[in-house]
Structures are given as structure tokens and as C-alpha cells.
Subunit: 347 residues, 2 copies
């Protein structure tokens, strides 16, 4: 399986990083007193290659798809909830709709492979690869061609949107299962440690999920290479997000990662092009069990920790004001010199 | 020392809490999936005594004052930085100015006792009790009359402002010292555990701070009762915030606590009227060392943890969008019924 990968420039630039740090350090505050907001400002400056970054038309993109595996009882909710929630996103009643409105984020929902026929709508991109993936218990979830098509589609979606920031969201009953398997296989971690209750499985459901997913991983034991792992055990919305991450990074857009499932897409993308990680801001530490394994493996530290486990891009949206603050602090705060404030004694 | 305390109603209301929880649970999301945003929505509903809370004219109030003790080298910055930063707040160049602008928070700076004569200005309330407290190493920082006047002033300031939310901020070189001593004395904790580097003391400075503050606490060893502790080792801006907290709670306003110093004011206020705690939202876990002791003692859990240690109300302002989100989610999200989304199987 071959995929043409976009060129993604390394964000690191020692000279610019030093200039940004000096700019931050001259602001009217004790050194480092704005903590992680300062490192965020530095990262965004590096991504945008400037000492005066700005935000332009931030895009919240929610990729939706169904999973054949959902029929095996790996989720507390039926598959129909995927399309019902897509309708809810578009009607403005979902958490992500409310939060996108609050923060003036353009919201686009992408039908990457929902098992439902949607009427055309403002804000909905019909990019269905197929009506749901195959049951990964019996066959690869996607054919190689479908997987590549989904990645390509995700790239095109981002390419077609304006702005310099992409906030990722997803919807797909069964997609914590896919994400857990991707995480387990790609990092070599015991599946049980990568597994959580998703939308709220009880203990019996969790045991069933582990049993089913163990069998699926066994069935696809030969899949080791990232794209094979993605095709056999992933989902259309996850593959599309892999493409979205690659495209966004190649265009130097800031990528705001939501929770566990969007994180799994970043994990795959980073296996293909490690430099994408420099463009990612990890919004929150999810309450889904496997997320801790994921962020430790990637060595990243999410900004928020609010026990969220909703997905949809809700965590990314909640984090957006912090990204705005980081840029505002860099651009609008006075320096000791400009404000006539006495600095501490030289150290 | 006697103080007339306002009546503060207990926020707890089992019937309303149950109605709010049911309302949250019918929203289109798995049970509890919005984590701490849900408990925040519940708290705000209880504070405002309604299932449909709303925000009205949120006020960010920064209380500023100088500390006689600052002359003893307990801070990395000179006392003059207090008035210089007040000018910076008013000119719009400080972190809190930038963040208040971002979130459309009305910003009021209160001169509670800065050692400087300010020209009258839009946004500045001249409420100086005295030009700086006395040196607590040699005398009580405030007389009893001054302490009561500062508390009264803080109450009047809040009473004179519109809206149903007060975000607290402060400025005062030396005020982490006061806060550490209040914390140590009121909670019976070893001073060394309540002490931090403030605006950035080096190791030698930290040792000096501990030495000085130990002597101050020794000098005021007889002060045990909250108001005595506040008067002998506190500051004008801290006493004013005690009043602000009491007043805000008595009017059922939500109080957004910033970091270590505003937290010390809440600690004192809660000793006087424990019910104020129900009105407090703890914005962030400060990087200042003693803050952990404070929040464990009070049994509260801040929303953010971003290594901030700036004060000014910057953490409160950064947290504000989460309070808006909590209310928006409660008011704007669809229910399973209204959106036609299938709920999980009955448990």
C-alpha cells in the first residue's frame, strides 16, 4: 500500500525560538509566570514562522463514520446514534455545536462513511467512502483502496477550507474500539491497557469489548505497518483525520487535537510523517482509559484535564480560547520598557 | 475586633440539584461525558437558584496594595512595581488587561493601599486605606480599624458593581508573603510548606523569605482569630478581597478565585462565613508552592493547571470561557428527546 506523503517542514527553528522567547521574557510579568501559555505562544510562533502569530478563520472539522464492529456490542449505544448525532451537530444542539458557536469556530461535518443517507445541507460535506466499514472481526475494516481514499479525502477537505488552524473532532459509534487497537498495535502495548469504557460500558460490556477486540487483533496479527493497521482495524473517519493532519501540517496550520480518537489519528499520521507532531496542540487529557498510554507514548502534555470523554471535538473547542490568549499575550502585552515597569535586579 | 457579617445563604438545595442533574443527564451525550463542565453547570445553577442560569456583566476586580514587609527583601521585585503595574493594568498592557479584553470582562482596579498617588482615571477606584501597610516585622500590618475599613471597602466595591459574577485579582509586591503566613497560621501548617518563590526568588531569596516570615509569625504569635491574623500579617488588598467575597456571596454572585493570594482571602472569608465556599469557582492550580496546601485544606479542585503564577486575576480570566461554556451547555444543548437521538439501552 503506497501513499504519496506531503512535505511537512520541521517546526523547529532555533533562531526564531530564541527571538520569541526573548519577546515573551520582556513582557510585564515575572519570567515564566504565564506557564504553559508561554510555551503555547512559542509553539504557535514557530508553526506560523513569525514573532507575531495571529489566528485566521479557525476550522472545527468533525469527521463521522460507522463501524461494522459496532454490531458486536462494543459500544453502549447503537450505530444509529452516529447519523442521529450528525443531524444534531448540523441542527446546533450538540455540545460541539454549542461550543463552536461560543468561540466563533466554523463547524464542518464530514460524512466520511456513515451508514445513512443525508440530505444535502449547509455545513455537511458528503464524502462517504462507504456506508460504514466492514466488520473487522471477519475482514479488514477497509480495503487498501478505501483506506487510501479516506486519507486523500481528509487531505482535500482541509485543503478546501480557509484559515490557519484546524480543530479536529469525530463521531462514530465503535471508534474507541478502533482507536484502542491502533494504539495497542502501533505502540506494542497490551490491549487491556489501551481500552476504556467509551461512551459508558458497564463492567460486563468492558469484558466483552476486550474479548472482541482481542480476537480482532489476533485476526489481523500480520498488520504491522501503520497503513495496514489503519486499514484493518481503523475507520473511515480516523483515516480521513490522518489525511487532515498530514495536510494541515504541510500547510503550517496549527492542529488542535481533541481526545482519544483524534489522538489515534495523529499517532498514525506521526508514524508516516513524524514532523506533524510539531503542529499539534493537545487540548485535553481524556477520561478514556487508553489516553494516558497514548500521551505518554507520544511524550505530549494536554492543556486541560476536565474528565471529558465526549469526543466530537468538544475538548478542542473548549481549549480554543487558550490558543487565542497565547497569541494575544504575545501581541498585546506591554514590555517592561514600553510600560515603564521596573524589572527585577539582574541575576 | 467585631465585624458585621452579611447573611450568606447555603447554596445547597437538594431538590434543585436533582432537577439540574436530570437536565444535564438528558443532554445528547453519554452520562457524565462532559466531566467537570457538568459539575460546574450544576454549581452555577445552584448559585443562581435556577435550571437556566445565565451570565450578566461579569466583573474582574483587581485589588492593589503595598506591603511594608516588602522592604525586607521578601520579593524579587521592588515595591514600586505595584503602582507601575496598576498603571499598566489601566493602560491595557498587562496580562489581565489583555485577557479581560479577550473575554469582554469589565476590568476595575481598586487602589486599596498603594504607596503612590494616582491621577483619577476611568477604571480606577481610589479606595486607599493608607499608602501601604506597616512593616509586619515590627508592628501589625494594619490596625484593627484599618483592617475593618478595608473589608468594608471591598464589600462596597462589589455592591457598587453590576452583574452576577466577580472574578478576583490582585497586585501587591510582597503579598505572597502575607498569604503564606495567613495560610500557615489559619491551617496550622508549617510555614515552610506554605511558602513559595513568589515572583521568582532564587534559593537564597527563598531562605531569606522563610527567615523573615518566621520572625514575623513569631512576633504575632498571639494572633489566632481570623481577623487578627488578617490584620497583623495580611494586606489591604487581601482584606478588601475578604470583603468582596463576603459581599458577592451574600448577593448570590459567582466568585471566580484566581490563585494563591485571592485564595488566601477566600480562606479568611470562609473562616468568618463558611457558606461563601459554595459560591467559589477555583480557576487554576497555581505554581506557587503553598497553593497545594491551600486547596487540599479547603478540599477544592481548581479547573486549570497551567503552571501559572502571575496573579492579577489572569488565571480567573483564562478560566472564564469554561464558566460560559458550562452555562451554554445547560441552556443550548438538545436533549435525547428533542434531537431524536437514541439513548443507550436502559441500565
Amino acid at each position: 500500500m503506497t501513499l504519496t506523503l506531503p512535505a511537512v517542514p520541521d517546526v523547529h527553528d532555533a533562531a526564531l525560538a530564541q527571538r520569541l522567547q526573548q519577546r515573551i521574557d520582556r513582557k510585564t510579568k515575572p519570567l515564566g509566570a504565564l506557564g504553559r501559555l508561554e510555551s503555547l505562544a512559542l509553539q504557535v510562533g514557530l508553526i506560523q514562522q513569525t514573532e507575531t502569530p495571529h489566528w485566521e478563520a479557525p476550522q472545527l472539522v468533525v469527521f463521522a463514520g460507522d463501524h461494522g464492529l459496532a454490531a458486536r456490542g462494543v459500544s453502549a449505544y447503537p450505530s444509529d446514534v452516529t447519523w442521529q448525532m450528525v443531524e444534531n451537530f448540523l441542527a446546533g444542539g450538540a455540545a460541539v455545536s454549542v461550543l463552536a458557536r461560543q468561540h466563533a469556530l466554523a463547524l464542518t461535518v464530514v460524512d466520511a462513511g456513515v451508514r445513512h443517507d443525508f440530505a444535502p445541507r449547509q455545513g455537511l460535506l458528503a464524502r462517504k467512502i462507504a456506508p460504514g466499514t466492514a466488520d473487522a472481526f471477519e475482514a479488514p475494516a477497509m480495503t487498501e483502496a478505501q483506506c487510501l481514499a479516506a486519507i486523500h479525502m481528509g487531505r482535500e477537505v482541509v485543503e478546501g477550507l480557509p484559515g490557519n488552524a484546524v480543530l479536529l473532532g469525530e463521531m462514530g459509534i465503535g471508534n474507541t474500539s478502533s482507536s484502542s487497537m491502533l494504539l495497542a498495535r502501533l505502540t506494542g502495548t497490551d490491549l487491556a491497557l489501551c481500552l476504556g469504557r467509551g461512551t459508558g460500558l458497564d463492567d460486563a460490556g468492558l469484558v466483552r469489548k476486550l474479548t472482541v477486540l482481542s480476537a480482532v487483533m489476533q485476526r489481523h496479527a500480520a498488520a504491522r505497518e501503520p497503513l495496514q493497521v489503519l486499514a484493518t482495524m481503523g475507520g473511515f473517519e480516523i483515516a480521513a483525520m490522518v489525511g487532515a493532519v498530514l495536510q494541515a501540517a504541510s500547510q503550517r496550520r496549527t492542529i488542535v487535537v481533541d481526545g482519544f480518537i483524534t489522538g489515534a489519528a495523529v499517532l498514525v499520521a506521526a508514524r508516516l510523517v513524524p514532523a506533524v507532531l510539531g503542529y499539534c496542540v493537545w487540548s485535553h487529557r481524556s477520561a478514556e482509559s487508553g489516553h494516558g498510554v497514548m500521551i505518554r507514548h507520544l511524550g505530549v502534555q494536554p492543556l486541560l484535564d476536565l474528565d471529558l470523554r465526549l469526543g466530537e471535538g468538544s475538548g478542542a473547542a473548549l481549549t480554543w480560547p487558550l490558543l487565542v490568549s497565547a497569541v494575544n499575550v504575545l501581541n498585546e502585552m506591554a514590555s517592561f520598557e514600553s510600560a515603564g515597569v521596573s524589572d527585577r535586579e539582574p541575576r
